[in-house]
């Protein structure tokens, strides 16, 4: 991985020195060895802090919304899931492709940082992959200007694993399902980390922030929390790229991806298989009309 790191640093430095871009977004080492948080570089001398290791888990695509009006180009490093985020934002016409230099980094899968907390730095190889990476089918970026390394071999993934948590929940009786989600969302403190990190959540003004009309009441109680959970899940329906950032950032460990995956599974059953962000031309099933769409409810 060191070769890749050097290549990334050289590339970032070159782009900034030649003034091709104003900003480079990548990862640097954080407080602990098992953290590689986002890094923003405007000075070429800082490029040497860039890293690429198995803790670069943050999806960087969302940050592009902060620089919509930047006068100049942005270069950013993307894993497969980050690239799907970029396609999503392009499809929603949130960002301009001409203003991006996309540097693809084929991803071997990120390690589970929670497991790393209990391990030592020289045990990285033995650490399990992060849950969301274990069943990843898109480690290689599908949109890029340049690749920083050779593409990785895509592992054969057992499709049933992808929806394992959904299948388990579907087996429960209605009351059990309700009890499960009630206890999970009763934990929610409404920090909005899930929304803020999500590349599918890109409304200029979020309905949860509106004071008038006040769709979401500010009381942190069962009914408001459930309204928040369901509204957000339905709003990203068909647009969730399964990067799993919402679940990773949730301080209360709410299994948000099980909710998202349930909706993905239902959409696949209703409208045919669809993977958000894979293909720029392939519009989200709930965002387009097709005369063959099912209409049993009519």
């Amino acid at each position: 991985m060191m070769d890749i790191v050097q290549k990334m640093r050289n590339k970032a430095k070159e782009l900034l020195e030649q003034e091709e871009v104003k900003l480079v977004i990548g990862w640097e080492k954080g407080t602990f060895w098992y953290q590689s948080p986002p890094m923003f570089i405007t000075n070429p001398d800082d490029a040497d802090r860039l890293v690429w290791d198995q803790f670069c888990i943050n999806n960087l695509s969302k940050y592009l919304l902060d620089y919509k009006h930047l006068d100049g180009k942005i270069a950013l490093f993307v894993k497969g899931c980050d690239a799907r985020g970029i396609n999503r934002l392009l499809q929603d016409q949130q960002i301009n492709r001409d203003k991006l230099v996309i540097l693809g980094v084929p991803c071997p899968g990120m390690k589970d940082a929670e497991a790393a907390k209990k391990a030592k730095e020289n045990q990285v190889d033995q650490l399990p992959l992060a849950e969301r990476c274990a069943d990843c089918t898109t480690p290689n970026p599908m949109v890029f200007d340049e690749l920083m390394a050779d593409e990785v071999v895509v592992a054969e993934i057992d499709e049933t694993k992808r929806f394992e948590s959904v299948l388990q929940l579907e087996e429960k009786a209605s009351d059990e399902k309700y009890d499960f989600w009630k206890s999970q969302y009763d934990k929610c403190i409404r920090c909005f980390a899930c929304r803020n990190v999500c590349p599918a959540c890109n409304c200029r003004e979020c309905c949860f922030d509106l004071a008038e009309p006040e769709w979401l009441g500010k009381r942190v109680v069962t009914s408001e929390n459930q309204f928040f959970a369901l509204t957000r899940a339905m709003h990203v329906a068909g647009r969730c790229i399964e990067c799993g950032e919402c679940e990773r950032v949730c301080p209360m460990d709410i299994p948000i991806m099980s909710l998202n995956k349930k909706i993905i599974k239902d959409i696949n059953n209703l409208f045919g298989d669809y993977d958000a962000g894979m293909d720029l031309e392939d519009k989200p099933p709930l965002g387009k009309y097709d005369e063959n769409d099912p209409e049993e409810f009519m």
């Binding site: 004071a211 950032v249 460990d253």
Partner: protein, 332 residues
């Protein structure tokens, strides 16, 4: 000093429950939180609670009063502001210290907040000294003795198979004397490990007073995603909003936690927002903790519990920020 065999911990909590509502750290759905104690729950003393106990004095959502309106008539009905006795069991020294800061906010400078005061006056604190701080802890640097807490009613030490309890106030002594599960005894305070992370926040406030327009804030704020995890997990953050909920002819006024990290926190009627971007909001959070609070109350509004450091999705690290703020050059 009294000694409790850990096998009798549940009996002790059951006895305490006869006198007051007991709150103890319980792991439920992978989150350790101070929960109302009922027989059958398991106390988790393995690490500090993820959610600070501040909501026991300052709930995340609290009804203030109810009202009815009919035609031109309106009536207001007071809501009792929580005056039942409560015991917070196994609160850590950092969180006890945070209560002193909440006291500053809610009880001093000429106004006492009844909602807070009624709960504070009826709360007994049984603190548990820490032996092995987490890698994210830095309470040493905030002047906290993690082995015991001078502001708790009872301090407790973990002796392995037993707990040692020592009363620090009259209320604490009376409570200990009333509990039959305890035996008289003595024990040495166990050794405590030092925190790995060290910071020096002392004297920073003066420098920060000259740093409002410093470019550091812009750089610092870039990676922040503007969520409220840090503020809601922080034991000293105390901002709130007051709202109303109307249903037909009835309604109620409530207050709930708010976060300076949210854009609508400073949004004014008419739509103007004096803190329009992440830069202003991040700057406010750290200036509040490290400059405004020290200026007003002579305390840094951080107890080194490390919750924000442990849970921030993008590793905004207050200890690193304190170091960087100390080093950054300021034009006089």
């Amino acid at each position: 000093m009294k000694i409790l065999d850990k096998s009798k911990l549940k009996d002790l909590l059951n006895s305490l429950s006869g006198e007051a509502q007991v709150f103890a750290p319980v792991n439920e759905d992978d989150v350790i939180k101070f929960q109302p104690w009922t027989d059958g729950k398991e106390v988790d003393l393995s690490s500090n609670a993820l959610l600070p106990p501040k909501d026991l004095l300052f709930p995340q959502t609290e009804t203030m009063y109810r009202y009815t309106t009919k035609g031109m008539k309106a009536e207001v009905a007071e809501v009792a502001a929580g005056s039942e006795k409560q015991v917070i069991f196994a609160i850590r020294p950092c969180d006890v210290r945070s209560f002193l800061m909440m006291d500053d906010v809610f009880l001093t400078k000429g106004y006492e907040d009844d909602y807070y005061k009624n709960k504070r006056d009826n709360t007994i604190l049984i603190s548990l000294g820490c032996k092995d701080p987490e890698p994210t802890c830095f309470c040493d640097s905030m002047g906290i003795d993690k082995s015991e807490s001078e502001h708790a009613d009872i301090v407790m030490f973990d002796l392995g198979e037993q707990l040692a309890l020592d009363a620090k106030t009259d209320a604490g002594k009376a409570l200990l004397d009333s509990l039959s599960e305890l035996e008289d005894g003595s024990a040495d305070k166990p050794d405590t490990a030092e925190c790995i992370i060290k910071v020096e926040p002392q004297g920073l406030a003066e420098k920060l007073a000259k740093m409002f327009e410093h470019p550091y804030w812009e750089e610092l704020s870039r990676k922040c995603i503007g969520c409220g995890a840090c503020t809601y997990l922080c034991p000293t953050c105390h901002c709130f909003d007051i709202r109303r909920k109307n249903v037909g002819e009835e309604g109620f006024q409530f207050r709930c936690w708010d976060s300076c990290m949210f854009s609508e926190y400073t949004r004014m009627a008419g739509g103007h927002n004096p803190r329009p971007s992440k830069k202003e909001r991040v700057r406010n959070r750290f200036l509040h903790k490290l400059q405004y609070f020290p200026e007003r109350y002579d305390k840094v509004a951080c107890v080194g519990c490390g919750r924000c450091l442990a849970k921030c999705p993008v590793n905004m690290d207050i200890t690193r920020i304190i170091k960087e703020l100390g080093e950054v050059a300021v034009n006089e």
